[in-house]
Symmetry: C3
Subunit: 346 residues, 3 copies
Amino acid sequence: MFLKNTWYVACNAHEIDERLLGRTICNQKIVFYRDEHGQVAALEDFCPHRGAPLSLGKLCQGKLTCGYHGLEMGRDGHTVAMPGQRVQKFPAIKSYPVQERYGFIWVWPGDASLADPSQIPHMAWYDNPQWAYGGGTYHVRADYRLMIDNLMDLTHETYVHSTSIGQPEIDETPCETTVEGEAVVTSRFMQRIPAPPFWRAALRAKGLADEVPVDRWQICRFTPPSHVMIEVGVAHAGHGGYDAPDAHKVYAVVVDFITPETEHTMWYHWGMARQFNPNDAVLTAQIRDGQGKIFAEDLEMLERQQLNLSAHPARKLLTLNIDAGGAHARRILDRLLSAEQAALRA
Amino acid sequence: MFLKNTWYVACNAHEIDERLLGRTICNQKIVFYRDEHGQVAALEDFCPHRGAPLSLGKLCQGKLTCGYHGLEMGRDGHTVAMPGQRVQKFPAIKSYPVQERYGFIWVWPGDASLADPSQIPHMAWYDNPQWAYGGGTYHVRADYRLMIDNLMDLTHETYVHSTSIGQPEIDETPCETTVEGEAVVTSRFMQRIPAPPFWRAALRAKGLADEVPVDRWQICRFTPPSHVMIEVGVAHAGHGGYDAPDAHKVYAVVVDFITPETEHTMWYHWGMARQFNPNDAVLTAQIRDGQGKIFAEDLEMLERQQLNLSAHPARKLLTLNIDAGGAHARRILDRLLSAEQAALRA
Amino acid sequence: MFLKNTWYVACNAHEIDERLLGRTICNQKIVFYRDEHGQVAALEDFCPHRGAPLSLGKLCQGKLTCGYHGLEMGRDGHTVAMPGQRVQKFPAIKSYPVQERYGFIWVWPGDASLADPSQIPHMAWYDNPQWAYGGGTYHVRADYRLMIDNLMDLTHETYVHSTSIGQPEIDETPCETTVEGEAVVTSRFMQRIPAPPFWRAALRAKGLADEVPVDRWQICRFTPPSHVMIEVGVAHAGHGGYDAPDAHKVYAVVVDFITPETEHTMWYHWGMARQFNPNDAVLTAQIRDGQGKIFAEDLEMLERQQLNLSAHPARKLLTLNIDAGGAHARRILDRLLSAEQAALRA
């Protein structure tokens, strides 16, 4: 059971350049492509003729043709044509609301009449010369909520990412969690600590001393269905920490869009937006590669955790203070899901 | 549920030269081999002693010996001997009617008392110097009836095989389907069209012009349980098409024997018999390789179609005029299967 | 259903040198490691915090730390510490009785209060300069009882191991099976036969003639839950066979500890202890490699036998005289299992 009346990141925009992409989102097989106007379209990946996957078809100047017997499918799910056939009465297939924004393709798996593009979260850094962005996508065999838990409790950095962004001071500094409507925010502010390797490199990249004590912050913000934006940064100690003037700090936003594929698998879209040295493309590539390696360290843990939980479905886990972010996020998801289900029955 | 009282191709005859072959046919695990007289035998692949697969055993001058503890099994399913044991009361295992014919091993998975070798379809080209034959075998993870559908509706050639045998004129030319008892025939005759690459090569091989307009025909003939013979050919236009004198045409028979392995997997035996240049072994190999590549293009489509259908078992598909051949074939299979089941209960 | 109140070999002692080992024993996921005193510990492989596998954690001077969020787990299953947390009320996880003995780690998957280390079978050859030992471990996808059957009926050597230890005389010589309490002994004594390749090499290694007739013996001894010790050897014929003076014979003990992983998979620990040339390390390595190759010949047979039995769960197998050892072993296991279950209900 997934929240359906909401926007998920389906894929990166460049993944459908010149080609069809079949992808399962919330247990629904969907084909994504660009139509003759370059506008993205999303349809059930099921040809109404004989059930062939449309994603094995061909795209001829934006026209989607089934690769098995040549049925031409329109972006609204109605068959446009098929050689030698009258197609007016062919059953329609489901067409999904879909938007291209901020370099991603967003899809609304639920009731199309409720789809409101203004609900897509705003990404201030997109197409903004003061920011740089790099990211990637991982397929993970775990419940997508395990990734929300992971990102809302960054104490795991000390253990999973001990050589890059982890440090014992994360564990030692209490976090605070607040709920703001449907959003959950977990914050941690560390004072006068050494910067870990990732941040030392960032300080150096900006021309700042990297071996002096810093204040470090992590502000994780969950919004439904499964977006987690994390403000992260360090400032030379004694300049105001998070509020320090730009000249004394480096900071970024960790961007996480988590998309359920099935109950126990997900697509994980991760990235980092930063304001320091935004025009340094080499640095952007270095950071993306580094982040990719760091985030890959989580995958085995989450997949093995999932196997353990699947083997012991009734077992109760602990919800400590550090787990409050993930716990509140799940409670909000449960509440929204109940409301969505109730509306379906009404 | 498969039709059982019928002949299926189990394997190619050469596959049991000098060795045992274990293969699952209609959900039954069977071991095939040649006995001391070179006669093919087919037995349950299950040693009555401890359940070891007999196909892991040894064949000593036609005597089948279990590879685990040395039980010697007879071709009738009765144990012949076992070191140190009296075997008279050992339970028999199932022995299957089996025939070697036309380079294939044929097996009858049902009631042995009903097995009639005269029901094996006749292959006029076998061991006939006026014909040449080449073929191969594929394992496909799809319901065997999806392959029947595929072969009875050749409009897919335009899309799946666009670089070899496909051409838009197939789509544009209506086909006609007739039912003749338990056989289904779907025919298509195309007039004054360009020959596609496969047929241009065939024309050239026979010393005929390949860039002139041709008449092309496809006559697909289904017979139960899952044999599809397809007469295919082209003639220089204006000489009578299918009925043109030999000097003006090239033609062949596409041979398809489809054997269910499980509900959703099959063994697909394909080949081509031709009368032009029958002694040209190089050409035979070229055609077999080309056909192998062409027929491999269907596999991903069928396997992905199967996944889609398995995910949506209740979904109704379309049955268009082009699907009439497959639809009639399924109806005949359903009718024969009901009759077979009724006879079992009687 | 497995016997639980008993000792199984979990792994070789060296497998937990300096590292954690996660292994499933009788369907229970367990993590094995050495604590700060070098003493082996065994715990549920499930962190009580969020279900992460503890075997993905770190071992810091014998302290087991969860690799996800740093929970420190004690060898008794009680959490010792976690950064920033009061852990006193954390639920305990299961701690397993465990012993290191004879180069193996032994685990008791059942009721810890019943665990008695004196029940671990004695291995006279361990750390004894008059003996040499070499062995290895295989993972096998079959019910562990199929391996007991295999080892209690050595007629399979004639077929499965025909080039090394098999010979027709095994088949031709009747065996005798006796039950001694919970132990089962199947013996076979062969007189004046040629030695097979393995034993010819052993005779040569000891400086004895290898082409003269020998007496050969095989005495297989099963004890619950799944230990099979096999006395094997050959003596120059005419010197008393099994009872011949040492100068006229070579002999060894085949050591088999079989540990169920799941209903249809097992860990198989095999080895050979010998008294001839005990200080010849090269010979020990040669014998271990040879035995490893020979025992690997059984794996495909057992795994394919398992597939056959799983496909035909109701089918009755034969229990011949040669199968008496395995049959008695299963009867004893069933009786002990019933008693264990009855005690649980009481």
